[in-house]
């Protein structure tokens, strides 16, 4: 009985998102900022398009770690687009304890790749359309943890969830 099966999460999303518009990017930034303010973790948030080019960016007031968070957030978003994967996965591939068993595990050799723009630290996520093509990326920097309940990663995800209607 296919009618009674629940729709997949992807199908419930708005059907026509094919590229990141400025309006969408602003909504995503606002959602992420709301979450970050509630969690008490002001940070830098970047949204890039499928070329990795910046579409929208905010550095929240009183974000931590000085002047480096804007460029780090942007490079995380770009890396998620370049790799087509979550930066959390990239960071696992970079973990020296994984050398050997995981294919392509010598990622430490990529630390200066792409003119230093590659960033394999958690806090970047690709944005995909309903056909699973990468149409953009989100990057966050400035939260003390990269992974966990209050982290760069969860602020990223709160931006992406904005694309899914309630």
């Amino acid at each position: 009985m296919t009618e009674s099966l629940p729709k997949s999460v992807m199908e419930e999303r708005a059907a026509d998102i094919k590229e990141i518009t400025l309006e969408m990017a602003e909504k995503m930034l606002e959602a992420a900022e709301r979450w970050a303010i509630n969690a008490g973790v002001p940070c830098s948030i970047a949204i890039v398009d499928k070329a990795g080019a910046l579409v929208a960016f905010h550095d929240m007031d009183d974000s931590l770690f000085g002047t480096m968070t804007p460029d780090i957030a942007i490079s995380k978003a770009q890396s998620a687009v370049f790799a087509g994967a979550s930066n959390y996965l990239l960071s696992k591939l970079l973990d020296p304890r994984h050398i050997g068993p995981i294919p392509g595990s010598y990622y430490i050799g990529l630390l200066t790749a792409l003119k230093g723009r590659l960033n394999m630290v958690p806090g970047g996520e690709p944005i995909r359309d309903n056909d699973m093509n990468v149409i953009g990326g989100v990057g966050v920097s400035g939260v003390p943890d990269g992974v966990g309940e209050k982290s760069d990663m969860t602020v990223c995800n709160s931006a992406i969830f904005e694309l899914f209607p309630d």
Partner: protein, 134 residues
């Protein structure tokens, strides 16, 4: 205490985008704080990829030298008293293109704005109008 708050940067950006729409053009708007660090960035649809770094460079240049970014071009003129100022230091974001302005408030430079996507005159005009109420 960083004077360039997110609210101020957003207000400036909105004014810039409204002006760009009035002129029927698309641009990228970069606002930096008094350290030249990016505060906000918005790129209108159909503003090409090249405008990203150019807008950021104009904003940084305006803050670093505290003059409109177009003034930097004069630093290459052998007759100028400022000959050579543009090639000192570690200027990774230096540009000579018009469209970047320092943002002043209460007599101090609190940041900079960079507009990229139109002609130099358009970019300069939009930058000027965007910060006039600060």
């Amino acid at each position: 205490m960083v004077a360039m708050k997110l609210d101020i940067a957003k207000e400036i950006t909105k004014a810039a985008i409204a002006e760009a729409k009035k002129r029927g053009m698309s641009c990228a708007v970069a606002v930096v704080d008094d350290r030249g660090v990016l505060k906000t960035f918005y790129r209108m649809e159909s503003a090409p990829i090249a405008t990203v770094d150019i807008a950021r460079n104009k904003a940084w240049t305006a803050v670093a030298f505290q003059v409109p970014s177009s003034d930097i071009a004069k630093f290459g003129n052998p007759d100028s008293i400022n000959l050579g100022f543009n090639i000192q230091n570690d200027n990774d974001r230096l540009t000579t293109i018009a469209g970047g302005l320092p943002i002043n408030k209460n007599g101090a430079v609190i940041g900079g704005i960079g507009i990229s996507g139109g002609t130099p005159e358009e970019d300069s005009a939009i930058a000027k109008l965007a910060i006039q109420n600060i």
